[in-house]
């Protein structure tokens, strides 16, 4: 009887252990099929995927005596991940509007609020900025910047303060992340929450106007 109980316990442990041993799933998305298609056509591809572990690791190198570095440290310590994709193409027309739409649709859930949707028909450039809002607090930002020969995707997950984003200017090597600094600067001009909500309403109005 004892042997049977031991065998059952061991058997159950053997079944459960691998499931427990698996790391918790990363909040960062797996590359979508669209991204693979884009990567296959691009002349230059840059992919940056920094999970929470890596961000915490990077934060430990920040100098606590340097004001700027402390600000960056505070910003990245709370984040769950940074995800950047940059595709450069040899010629125009290497990606389709359908592919852009598929990338946008991945963030078409109610918790993602469109903040900016800009499209210049003359140059063919478009910019989308979406914010993940949970209980009124920004918990993520998604930027999709499309130029005729370049496509940039930036996804930052975790609590974000727009006024702190300008600190990411120093990370200009990380594709479109540097560009987010401008967004942070804009937020710094006005109190964070007011600005964010104003942008949101402005852009919703703009979007409704264009439809």
């Amino acid at each position: 009887m004892k042997h049977r109980v031991a065998a059952i316990i061991l058997g159950t442990a053997a079944l459960v252990a691998p499931a427990l041993a698996q790391p918790s799933p990363s909040p960062l998305p797996l590359p979508s099929p669209v991204e693979k298609q884009l990567a296959a056509r691009a002349a230059n591809v840059t992919e940056v995927t920094l999970g929470k572990g890596m961000l915490d690791f990077a934060a430990r190198f920040m100098d606590n005596n340097d004001k700027d570095q402390v600000a960056v440290k505070q910003l990245i310590e709370g984040l769950d991940g940074i995800y950047v994709r940059d595709y450069e193409f040899d010629k125009e027309g290497e990606y389709s509007m359908d592919q852009l739409e598929q990338l946008r649709q991945a963030f078409g859930t109610p918790e993602w609020t469109p903040m900016v949707h800009e499209h210049e028909s003359k140059s063919g450039e478009s910019t989308d900025v979406m914010m993940k809002m949970i209980n009124g607090e920004p918990q993520g930002i998604f930027v999709l910047d499309a130029e005729p020969k370049e496509l940039t995707i930036v996804l930052i997950l975790g609590p974000i303060r727009l006024d702190q984003l300008s600190e990411l200017k120093g990370l200009s090597g990380l594709g479109g992340l540097g560009g987010l600094g401008a967004l942070g600067d804009a937020a710094k001009d006005k109190p964070g929450k007011d600005k964010a909500s104003k942008d949101k309403t402005d852009d919703k109005a703009k979007k409704e106007g264009t439809q």
Binding site: A43, N44, V45, E47, R60, F61
Partner: protein
């Protein structure tokens, strides 16, 4: 006479038997980790890596100098790397050889320029393993290193202070 003849033959046969698995794995470009990746690159692109002499000693010195901040340094260098490289294939090969636990952090690939960069990370308690494959023109480098951020940072800060002190004394 007979015994003198059979002893060396027996020793040689034993050596062959003991090292056979290693040769089989190597011939197949197999194995995991740093050696697995380097062997795979060697067999796939028909290039020969130059292992840096006394790298083990250098790694120990680096570990001691940084108080364990940097450890387990391994470097393989391919000079005159002329084979065309498909970024997707290289990435897949490195991922397969590194195995589980390694996550790709950065990938930069250029279709025309022969430039490929892959950086993988492997959190291991307080330490972080970093694995870098970098192809720049005709030179491909493979580097593996284990870093303890806190200890390395302490060393960096220490040297920063030394620099500042030196600047002040020279003024």
């Amino acid at each position: 006479m007979n015994r003198h003849f059979w002893i060396p033959i027996g020793v040689a046969a034993l050596c062959v038997l003991l090292t056979a698995p290693w040769w089989v794995v190597r011939a197949a470009g197999g194995g995991g980790g740093f050696d697995g990746v380097v062997n795979s690159i060697e067999s796939r692109y028909h290039q020969r890596a130059m292992r840096i002499p006394f790298m083990g000693l250098a790694s120990v010195v680096a570990g001691a100098a940084t108080h364990g901040g940097v450890d387990c340094v391994r470097v393989a260098e391919f000079e005159h790397f002329s084979a065309p490289v498909d970024g997707e294939e290289l990435n897949r090969m490195v991922e397969e050889r590194l195995g589980q636990g390694w996550e790709r952090m950065i990938r930069e690939t250029s279709r025309h320029g022969g430039e490929q960069t892959l950086i993988f990370s492997h959190p291991d308690g307080k330490r972080m393993g970093l694995f870098i494959v970098d192809l720049d023109g005709a030179e491909l480098n493979v580097v593996q290193v284990s870093v303890d951020a806190d200890r390395l940072n302490e060393t960096i800060i220490k040297y920063k202070h030394h620099d500042h002190d030196d600047e002040h004394t020279s003024e």
